[in-house]
Structure formats: structure tokens, C-alpha cells
């Protein structure tokens, strides 16, 4: 783990990069990283995030600034800007059931090629996918999902990068911290090693590449 400024961290992300962003409706989202992505105008991003949040909050800011060209998400209904950009074909949107979304990312982080899920069998979601029977039950083959970068937000990070989360801001963060080539973390509190008890570490330090220092 290396401690860096938010400017340095975002400078590593090239335009057109694939980026996973933790958070659920902007809760548990690394806001400082997203503000800096907007400031550095990282265009053409492939965004992987549960939702599009709302304008002005979380990944909503990336749509306000029209920085996204591809989006994989489960729900974008509460962000009119993302809806407009989808209907105008400015962004290509892949809508995925939420359980499938998180399992694809988990698979990507755990060295699996994908998962078999009953969710989506017999619906539009099954179009173009392989259906596989196991013990007489139909499942869809959903392939693994990874990204070049994961932008993660934690409640606590210790000096070596162990992470713990708060309440519902945990959501996709620990799963995404497994599934990207480079993991960049912001934390509400940076604390000495040992403050997070071993039993309470959710994301182990070796998964974290960069921790954003306090500004």
C-alpha cells in the first residue's frame, strides 16, 4: 500500500479506463476521488457501479460531467441525466440484476470464470446467454466482471491499508476491492495499525494499492 494525494491517484487513471465504484445510491462512495475525476476530466469511462445515484451525488457527478461512455449497473431510474444520456445513445448501458451484478464481480475477484444463477432464466436477461442445467434446474452462465481500477470508500483504514466499513456504506466496496488491477481507497478515518481489531478487518491490507491521504 502506498499513501498518495487524491490528485496523484486520479492522474494514474487514463481516459477510457474501466472503473468500479463502490456505493449504493451514493452511500459508501469515494466522493473525493469522484470530484477529482471530474476535475481532471477523465472522459470515456467504462463505469461499473450498482446505480447512477442522483445528480450531484456519488457517481451522479460523472454523468453531470458526461464522462461515462459505458455503464454496467442494476438501476439508474433515479438519475434523470443518466436516463437521458442512455436514451440519446451517448452511453451504452448494460442493466444487470443486482445479485448477478455482485456475483459477477465476486467471481472476477476470486479467480472464477463466472457463476451459474437462476436469476433471469425465462426473461430478457437470458438473451444471448448460455443456459446450463444442473440437477435438472436451469441456470444462466454469467461471466466474471473485472476493472482496471476500483474506487473504494471505507470508514476506517489503518496505516497499512486494512479496511473496515460503516453500516450500509459497506455494500459493494469489499467485493470490488478484490476485482480490479489497481485498488484506490478513501477513508473517513485513517487510524494506527491495531485500532481495527483483526476480527473486524473486512478488507485485508494486501488488497489495497493506494490510500488517499487526508487533504
Amino acid at each position: 500500500m502506498k499513501a498518495v494525494s487524491v490528485e496523484e491517484a486520479v492522474a494514474m487513471i487514463p481516459p477510457g479506463a474501466s472503473v468500479m465504484v463502490g456505493g449504493f445510491m451514493g452511500v459508501g462512495t469515494p466522493e473525493r476521488l469522484l470530484d477529482e475525476v471530474v476535475r481532471q476530466k477523465k472522459t470515456g469511462l467504462t463505469l461499473i457501479c450498482n446505480d447512477a445515484a442522483i445528480p450531484g451525488k456519488g457517481v451522479g457527478k460523472l454523468f453531470d460531467a458526461a464522462l461515462v461512455s459505458k455503464l454496467t449497473a442494476t438501476h439508474i431510474g433515479l438519475n434523470p441525466n443518466a436516463q437521458k444520456q442512455m436514451l440519446a445513445n451517448q452511453i451504452a448501458v448494460d442493466l444487470v440484476p443486482q445479485g448477478t451484478f455482485v456475483e459477477r464481480i465476486r467471481a472476477g475477484g476470486c479467480g472464477l470464470g463466472g457463476v451459474l444463477t437462476p436469476t433471469g432464466v425465462g426473461t430478457l436477461v437470458a438473451d444471448g446467454k448460455r443456459q446450463i442445467e444442473v440437477d435438472g434446474k436451469p441456470f444462466l452462465l454469467e461471466t466474471a466482471l473485472r476493472a482496471q481500477f476500483a474506487l473504494v470508500h471505507a470508514f476506517l483504514a489503518d496505516y497499512i491499508g486494512n479496511l473496515a466499513y460503516a453500516l450500509t456504506s459497506r455494500n459493494f466496496n469489499p467485493v470490488m476491492a478484490m476485482a480490479a488491477d489497481t485498488v484506490i481507497v478513501t477513508a473517513d478515518n485513517i487510524v494506527p495499525v491495531g485500532v481495527i481489531a483483526p476480527d473486524h478487518v473486512v478488507t485485508p491490507a494486501p488488497l489495497v494499492d493506494y490510500l488517499i491521504t487526508n487533504g
Binding site: 449504493f24 452511500v27 431510474g77 436516463q83 440484476p97 426473461t123 453500516l167
Partner: protein, 216 residues
């Protein structure tokens, strides 16, 4: 009684002590208000919480304690939090006893459409497909008709949420079940006759000899 309250109160009667329950947005959210206090139910919020409590008092909201719509909630004693993989493992893995969801259409075989209107409303399915595929019992809570058009249809014209049929539909006019895969009128709402239900229902309903009124 307002139609939404009829639905919420009737659905609340389906919950049992010890159940792990997931409520969708809209009418389903209201169900929590009508659970009798002696009934101990665990409510799950799919963004990673079991033990969802009511909206906190003014000034007590915490930015990291929210429901799936991002709104502030509270947590009850005994609450626990987890990541989204665990949350949907609970849902898809059959650990959720009951899910209550809104609906756009339910057909004569209990198939549900509730996530998109092609060309008009494409918000994404969120957790709906996993909930219908995985919960032990799926209850749809919705108005019987919208703009005079039956939402209980012969066959869904909108895209399906799952190939798995729902277990029960509770509307402001009736309770409908699917024994042997066939839509059956189980109860009528107070003051609503069997004939009135049949008149506004597009799907063919089986009608037992005796159809009791909802006890609210």
C-alpha cells in the same frame, strides 16, 4: 380505508414471527407500519442490513444508515450489516422467507412483470429479479387496476421479472392465490363483491363456493 392501507394491512397478516422479510418500494414499504408489535419479524434492506427500523427522528439521521433508495433509516437492537454479496446470497439462496413487491402485471399463472415498460420506463431491475427467483414466498402488493385497466391479466404483455410464479397477490379488491398454477379468488376486500372483482379482472379467476372477506 384507503386502497393502499387495505393492501398493506392484509399483507402484514401474512408475516410470522421469526420471518426474514424483504419489502420493495411503494405499497410494500407500508406493510412494516401494520405489523403487530408482538410479531417479531426481521426486515432486510438489500443494501446490506437486517433489522431495519423506522425513519429516525429529526436530526438523528446518519449518512451511512440508509435504505435501498438512499433514504435515512434506523436500525433495531440486534441489527446486523453485511456486504452486497451476502445480501443477495440471502435473497437468492432461499434464506428470505417472504418478499413483498409491487407489480405492473400479474398473469393467470402468477407470472409477474414489474421492472420495465419498453420505450417508456427502463430504470433497471435492481434486486427484483433475484427476489422473485430466490425468496421462499413472493407476495405482490398492488392496486387491482390502473386507469381502469386490470393489472391481473391473462398473459403479461410487459417483460417478465422471473419464470417463477408468485405465491400471492393482494390488491385493494381481492386476495388471489395460484393453487395448481391457476389464479383463484381467495378473499375479497371489505364491501367488494365477488361479481365486482370478476368484472374488473382480465384474467380468468377460479372462484371457490365460499369466498371470505378480508379480516382487517
Amino acid at each position: 380505508m384507503e386502497p393502499q392501507i387495505v393492501i398493506a394491512r392484509r399483507v402484514a397478516q401474512e408475516l410470522k414471527t421469526g420471518n426474514l422479510v424483504n419489502l420493495g418500494i411503494g405499497i410494500p414499504t407500508l406493510v412494516a407500519n401494520y405489523v403487530p408489535p408482538d410479531l417479531k419479524v426481521f426486515f432486510q434492506s438489500e443494501n446490506g442490513l437486517i433489522g431495519t427500523g423506522p425513519i429516525p427522528e429529526q436530526g438523528m439521521a446518519h449518512p451511512t444508515l440508509t435504505d435501498a433508495g438512499g433514504r435515512p433509516i434506523s436500525a433495531l437492537p440486534g441489527a446486523c450489516v453485511f456486504d452486497s454479496a451476502m445480501s443477495f446470497g440471502l435473497i437468492r439462496g432461499g434464506h428470505v422467507d417472504v418478499t413483498v413487491l409491487g407489480g405492473l402485471q400479474v398473469d393467470a399463472h402468477g407470472l409477474l412483470a414489474n421492472w420495465m415498460i419498453p420505450g417508456k420506463m427502463v430504470p433497471g431491475m435492481g434486486g427484483a429479479m433475484d427476489l422473485v427467483s430466490g425468496a421462499k414466498r413472493v407476495i405482490v402488493a398492488m392496486q387491482h387496476a390502473a386507469k381502469g385497466k386490470s393489472k391481473i391479466v391473462a398473459k403479461c404483455s410487459l417483460p417478465l421479472t422471473s419464470a417463477r410464479p408468485v405465491n400471492l397477490v393482494v390488491t385493494d379488491m381481492a386476495v388471489i392465490g395460484f393453487p395448481d398454477g391457476k389464479a383463484t379468488l381467495l378473499e375479497t376486500a371489505p364491501g367488494v363483491s365477488v361479481g365486482e372483482v370478476l368484472a374488473v379482472t382480465e384474467a380468468e379467476l377460479a372462484v371457490p363456493d365460499h369466498v371470505p372477506e378480508m379480516k382487517l
